[in-house]
Amino acid sequence: MSNSIRVAFALTAAAAFAFAGPAAAQQKIKIGFISTFSGPQGVMGQYMKESVELAIEHLGGKVGGLPVEMVYGDDQVKPDVGVQVAEEMLKKQQVDFVSGIIWSNVMLAVVPVVTGAGKIMVGSNAGASPLAGSQCNKLYFSTSWNNDQTPEAMGKFLQDSNVNDLYVIAPNYQAGKDMVSGLKRYYKGRIVEENYTKLGQQDYQAEITQLRSKNPKAVFAFLPGGMGIQFLKQYDQAGLRDQLPLYTVYTVDEISIPAVKDAALGIYETRYWSPDLKNPANEKFVSDYKKKYGKLPVFYGAQAYDSIMLIDSGVKAVKGNLKDTNGMVAAMEKADFKSLRGPFQYNVNHHPIQNFYLLKTVKTANGDIEMHIQKTIFEKHKDSYYQECKMK
């Protein structure tokens, strides 16, 4: 290499450093967002990402007054991959916050990594009970719920409406059992059978035959994702939809409705949010989302939107000083932002104290199939684990 070229290299390098200086001084905020973007579940991550992008648009491209850079990571529904992605975000990308995560098992693995690095984790779906109770953490916030709360609301509704002879169907894994125990915390009527099916099962005809032979008065189902789509189609084809009321949690939503259409009509869900919830922030979110993406948003997205807004409120409170972690935590505990679910408060375990509603799938005047709020089941509902949280 000739000398002149060496000099040229040295000069370029020096110039690069000279420019790097001011660029680093100009502060920006980096947020890592982990979700599932590939495989059959990738559609949930897609809705979340779209909502995050809409949130940033609503904030004028800035979060907490700082220019924002989003780093998206795909956990592939695997805890080990989630941890790997989080570590890369923290070490290589130097993110200031981590948010997202759909699955409880991924969340339980990732939270210690993020909080261990001294950064704030804002969970925007998974509601693993240990994180609300014994493993709660000062640096962990949830913008969603604790897993048990949604089936608790359904249990309360079924109890209050004197439903009896309930048939229960859920996949045979931890969340399936948790949902049923959440239901039973409030529902005290008779359960004719609890049927735990294989996780990821496709065909429910055998279960439907079984269910019919037990003559229940109502059916409770927790069959998330593809399982729900299959169950709804088959329940409808078996001619049961009009005969036997179906009460579900995390089974019917704005992602599954377009895939089953009329087979979702008349089915009940419980939830803390719905596209038809009346408050200015939500109305703006839903109409802008429809305009931008041509479809209705789903609760996964609403939670993701809220996590960006929560981070925004925390960073604004410390005037963009991202080193002031305690100041941001204190501000975020106030939940001082326009949540899509309406105003709410944080419990001592950094989980929302919020309302839960009964939703029903209906056909609107122009033929669309949507979920509409029927009534409020719980007002300011606290999860059942916060007393085990020793955070102070």
Partner: protein, 306 residues
């Protein structure tokens, strides 16, 4: 009780017929061409998607089915010519890797064209009713139609394999490939045709599955594992084995899900049966496969060697 057993057996038969359509194509490809084709599930997915798209486009279910089947046949032949031909001399590991790559390719391709969300797929309105069973309960017409279509396909396949020249070549190819080629048969063309028809059978299973299952990228992988169990039980390369194996697996799986828990409840305590029942039911077909492998390692109806 008997009527319940009858209905559950019918459910098992229907599931078995579905597995058979998948297994028939896979077992032919594995038995005759000696190729482990993991992408068979992708062809099932392609069949489902093409039919939904064609049904939407033409507005006629039967036309949709015809285009879906034809489309999958063509896709299968293209895959054979472009990818599999290079794999015949390679060992099974290379084939597994390459066809796994095909799975990823097709899943992403479908996601790019139709999106990641599950697609709405419906059967024809003339199959949306019910049949009244003599037991007094109702059975969805669509599922009854699946049983009929599956059994008709089985008869046609039986006829083609045992009574036609093509079938003779297929059987000969399964027994001794080198000899068939030495006798001057264009084995390349035979392979393309066999693979194409195997693909069309997978496509048929996929299009039948559309209205009851989930039409989504990756839908084929869920059923593929059970299909491999079927062909291992039935004997690789044997259509008869695929039919018997599929129906055994379908019925064992369904009856296990329905009756294992109450049966266990009479033997052991309630809560123990409550947790052991579902776990055991989901293992049942694999236990069955292990038992078959232990006593008849070639499967129930081996096509080759013996």
């Amino acid at each position: 009780m008997w009527s319940l057993l009858f209905e559950q057996t019918l459910n098992g038969l229907q599931f078995g017929v579905m597995l058979f359509l998948m297994a028939a194509g896979l077992t032919l490809v594995l038995g005759i061409m000696n190729v482990v084709n993991l992408a068979h599930g992708s062809l099932y997915m392609v069949g489902a998607y093409l039919t939904v798209a064609a049904f939407r486009w033409t507005g006629s279910y039967l036309l949709g089915v015809a285009l879906g089947l034809g489309g999958t046949l063509v896709v299968g032949m293209i895959v054979e010519v472009v990818v599999l031909r290079a794999l015949y001399p390679r060992d099974h590991l290379d084939q597994v890797l390459a066809t796994f790559g095909l799975i990823l390719f097709f899943n992403e391709l479908v996601a790019i064209i139709w999106g990641r969300a599950a697609l709405f797929a419906s059967g024809p309105s003339w199959l949306s009713g019910h049949i009244n069973l003599f037991t007094g309960s109702r059975y969805p017409m669509y599922r009854a139609a699946i049983i009929v279509v599956g059994l008709i396909t089985a008869v046609i396949l039986w006829y083609v394999v045992t009574r036609t020249r093509l079938g003779m070549l297929i059987r000969a190819g399964a027994t001794n490939r080198t000899m068939v080629a030495a006798l001057g048969i264009n084995i390349r063309l035979l392979y393309t045709v066999v693979f194409g028809f195997g693909a069309a059978l997978a496509g048929l299973a996929g299009l039948l599955a559309g209205p009851i299952y989930n039409v989504q990228p990756g839908m084929g992988e869920l059923i593929l594992i059970q299909v491999f169990v079927v062909i291992v039980i039935g004997g690789i390369g044997s259509i008869r084995g695929a039919l018997v194996g599929a129906i055994i697996v379908g019925i064992v799986d369904t009856l296990g899900r329905a009756f294992l828990k109450p049966l266990l409840g009479t033997l052991i305590s309630g809560p123990a049966a409550e947790s052991a029942g579902p776990a055991l039911a989901s293992m049942l077909i694999y236990l069955l496969m292990a038992a078959v492998l232990a006593f008849k390692p070639q499967g129930l109806f081996p096509a080759r060697g013996s």
